[in-house]
């Protein structure tokens, strides 16, 4: 130890000693057996050392920063819970945002944690391994802080109680589940494009910003803090996703068509998933931040275009679905909300017809579509509801074989027509919500025929709760579906007249009276 070392070892060199210098080429076991996942997708990597670390955090610094954030976050959550913070939200309809968003998101964060652990195990380079593992534990963080933040709401409001049970059973949650199941069952590089790039980079802002600002606008300090705190990790996740794309593209020109296909696929799959986030912005936040259309223009059309401009030097093109998403942005949220409203027995959150001033807001934000197509429908449902004839659609929905969403979106060329595409594969008929989903199917039919589609499962008698004899002669498929879901009757149907509405009003009166 005679050598004098420059104390100011460069940050990059120091970080290399802390990460990639730890790794070695295995010889007792061949590298391709130790890292069996990195070749079969066809991505060619010649030099793992060319990976540019997107951020340079050693574990000691990671623990320190993250602990500071956790301390603050839980202090705010505790205070919020102690002070009945839930009573300061704008009105009780807002809580349905939490039921929808926080009821469906934590299970997906958990899948992200699992997926990044797998990629973190299986990437050959130490640089990407470390970055992916760090994201894996971050995703455990998001998953758990979200569960902890809904925990308190669950004590006072209906519909969040069975989110864990419902994550794999509830019809409308299977689109999100299929999204992450699809990513995690793909190889590590596709996972990185799916989650690291398309989800965390291209779509993350439109997923989280409306939710976080929505929480802030509507007086929900707890959800806002959880969201903001997670966003501070997202900055790292975004740079990782982008670096991964660049790394693949720089390594070999043959990677481009594969990566492009994944970008097309995952941007579209993500877009489909976002319809419900948009619906939350347009219909569910009592105090609105901006319309989904505006958010889409800002975060996807403008920021996304800038990103793809930047990637053009690698030969990457704007995702194929770009044009269709632009055409759909004035429709999807209305179709989604109406779709949910029409099924009052099938969701653990409430729906309602917007108030007059809210309908006016929608007319103003959607001048091309709302008055023409959707306002009349909503007003018609409203009149029916008021005359005691509330619409209730009991027919089984048709689902897209790829994105699993209920087929309800219009033909891009004809807003009055629901688009449905069908094809027969190996003697079986499959349906798609769009050309994009059909193309995804065509690229990997053997994967997508496996999809779990709950409406089919019900008809096949597979959705009976524990303890029901499905072989009994009087067994009726579908009769037990609410029990299979553990769907609490009090959590379903109209907000007006609900237990949530009554409780919130009574508690708030109590807390504000002198």
């Amino acid at each position: 130890m005679d050598m004098k070392v420059d104390k100011k070892l460069g940050l990059k060199e120091r970080y290399a000693l802390m990460t990639r210098d730890l790794a070695w080429e295995t010889t007792y076991q061949p590298m391709d057996k130790v890292f069996p996942q990195v070749t079969y997708e066809g991505i060619k990597i010649h030099d793992w050392n060319a990976w540019e670390d997107p951020f340079r955090l050693t574990m000691d610094a990671y623990w320190k920063y993250q602990a500071e954030k956790e301390r603050k976050l839980y202090a705010i959550l505790d205070a919020f819970n102690q002070n009945n913070g839930h009573l300061s939200v704008t009105d009780a309809r807002y809580i349905n945002v939490l039921k929808l968003f926080l009821g469906s998101t934590p299970p997906l964060e958990l899948m992200a944690a699992r997926g990044f652990t797998n990629v973190g195990r299986h990437m050959v380079g130490a640089g990407p391994r470390v970055a992916c593992l760090m994201q894996a534990v971050d995703e455990y963080r998001h998953f758990q802080t979200q569960v902890h933040s809904i925990s308190n709401y669950n004590k006072y409001y209906n519909g969040m109680n069975e989110f864990a049970h419902q994550q794999s059973r509830m019809w409308y949650l299977s689109d999100g589940k299929s999204f992450f199941d699809d990513a995690i069952t793909a190889g590590p590089f596709e996972f990185m494009v799916a989650i690291g790039f398309a989800f965390e980079y291209v779509l993350t802002n439109i997923l989280f910003v409306p939710f976080i600002s929505g929480a802030a606008y509507n007086g929900d300090m707890a959800a806002m803090t959880v969201g903001f705190s997670a966003q501070s990790d997202e900055a790292r996740h975004m740079t990782l996703g982008l670096e991964c794309i660049k790394f693949m593209l720089e390594q070999d020109p043959d990677n481009l068509p594969i990566v492009q296909r994944w970008i097309d696929k995952w941007t579209w799959r993500g877009t489909r998933k976002l319809a419900s986030v948009g619906m939350m912005m347009d219909y569910m936040l009592p105090k609105r931040i901006m319309s989904f259309k505006e958010a889409w223009e800002m975060y996807f059309e403008q920021n996304g275009a800038a990103l793809f401009n930047d990637l053009a030097r690698y030969g990457v093109k704007v995702p194929k679905c770009f044009v269709q998403t632009v055409a759909e942005k004035e429709h999807v949220t209305h179709q989604s909300w109406i779709g949910f409203y029409m099924k009052p027995d099938s969701t653990p959150f409430h729906t309602w017809i917007p108030e007059k001033d809210e309908l006016d807001w929608l007319s103003e934000k959607y001048p091309n579509t709302f008055d023409k197509y959707y306002r009349p429908v909503l007003e018609h449902f409203d009149a029916q509801e008021k005359s005691g004839n509330r619409f209730n659609n009991k027919t089984a929905p048709m689902n897209c074989q790829v994105c699993i969403s209920t087929i309800k979106f219009n033909d891009p060329d004809d807003p009055m027509k629901t688009l449905i595409r069908s094809k027969t594969y190996k003697g079986e008929k499959f349906h798609f919500c769009s050309l994009h989903c059909e193309e995804i199917f065509d690229a990997e039919p053997e994967k997508y025929i496996q999809a779990y589609i709950s409406s089919h499962q019900v008809l096949q008698g597979n959705c009976a709760p524990e303890g029901v004899d499905t072989t009994a002669p009087d067994f009726e498929p579908g009769a037990h579906i609410a029990a299979y879901w553990r769907l609490d009757k009090a959590a379903t149907g109209d907000f007006n007249g609900s237990e949530d509405q009554a409780n919130f009003a009574a508690w708030r009166r109590q807390a504000t009276s002198n």
Binding site: M18, Y40, R129, H148, M160, S454
Partner: protein, 334 residues
């Protein structure tokens, strides 16, 4: 909107989520560990089979020979959900920071006797690669384990091992000795002293049963190596050369003690679940411990000279006691 809310007490409709009330047998408040852990991993209705392993489901209990009636019985007695884990590590990190600062301020590393430095170079520094190997193996458990109880704990352990590899790197830097890192790396790759250990962790990198990896890597190997190096050797070095190495490796020795509590709880519960489990676990311990002892022996000798074998035998005895207490019946040879 700022509302002035009077503090009122409201009777909650329920105390916890349905899945937890059913698990606990009563609707009562659950801890944040329980809320963030129990029964949340999907178990059914998966959409697709993994393209990288189509014989299994995305989450599949058949990835190990161990069978559990309840995978969430493998609870972590430290109750580490993410927040508790980072808080615990940040506290240890704080202490380590102060230790490194003290060593630097007082010039303790520069003044450290050459005989001590030689041991640091030859025995401690190559271990950063071993910790990296442990990180790979623990992330495998995190990626394929069943139930969040075990998979989150293994993932945190993987990060801990990465942290340990980095603390060892910092130790070399504290001694201003970058060249020693390169020498330690070639020793890891080529010197006979390290080949048994390198083969051991590389073989675990291709072992498919994640529970077996947990036993071989965390229970057996760490159970021998950490006490050997971070307790016994650190003490010996302190005694002869002053308390520098134990300061700069305090994280590791504290961590190993804490981690052992988690592992003992896991082994105990898994073994108690069925005689088949207990038998399987004992067989794995027997098989991997024989290999680990052989692999660690030259390291013990490098650290303690002729006494190495005796020191290692004592540590092996301690490990046997730990595992017997956890409910494994280890044969005389094991």
């Amino acid at each position: 909107m700022q509302l002035d809310l009077r503090t009122i007490s409201i009777k909650p409709l329920r105390q916890t989520f349905g899945h937890l009330a059913r698990r606990m047998g009563a609707d009562k408040p659950a801890s944040r560990y329980i809320e963030g852990t129990m029964d949340l991993q999907p178990v059914e209705n998966f959409h697709y089979r993994p393209s990288w392993d189509p014989d299994f489901d995305i989450f599949d209990p058949r990835r190990t020979a161990i069978v559990m009636k309840d995978w969430y019985a493998l609870k972590d007695p430290r109750q580490f959900f993410y927040g508790a884990w980072v808080l615990a590590r940040a506290r240890m990190q704080d202490a380590a920071e102060a230790d490194f600062a003290l060593v630097e301020e007082r010039g303790l590393a520069a003044a450290y006797p050459e005989a001590g430095k030689a041991v640091v170079r030859s025995v401690l520094l190559p271990l950063r690669h071993l910790a990296w190997g442990a990180n790979i193996n623990d992330s495998f458990i995190g990626a394929h384990g069943y139930g969040i109880a075990i998979s989150q704990a293994a993932t945190y352990a993987a990060m801990d091992q990465l942290g340990i590899a980095q603390y060892l790197t910092r130790l070399a830097l504290a001694f201003s000795d970058i060249e020693a890192l390169a020498a330690a790396k070639s020793a890891w790759l080529e010197a006979p002293l390290w080949q048994g250990l390198r083969r051991y962790v590389e073989d675990l990198m291709v072992t498919g049963d994640w529970f077996e990896v947990l036993v071989a890597q965390n229970v057996v190997l760490d159970g021998l190596l950490y006490p050997l190096v971070y307790d016994r050797l650190a003490d010996a070095l302190d005694a002869s050369h002053g308390p520098v190495v134990s300061l700069l490796t305090r994280f590791q020795s504290e961590w190993a003690g804490e981690n052992a509590k988690w592992l003992d709880a896991v082994i105990k519960v898994a073994a108690a679940d069925s005689p088949e489990n207990a038998e399987k676990l004992a067989a794995w311990v027997g098989q991997w411990r024989a290999r680990a002892l052989e692999a660690v022996a030259p390291v013990a000798e490098a650290a303690f000279g002729a006494e190495g074998a005796a020191v290692l035998a004592e540590i092996a005895e301690d490990l046997s006691r730990r595992l017997t207490k956890a409910g494994l019946s280890l044969g005389a040879s094991a």
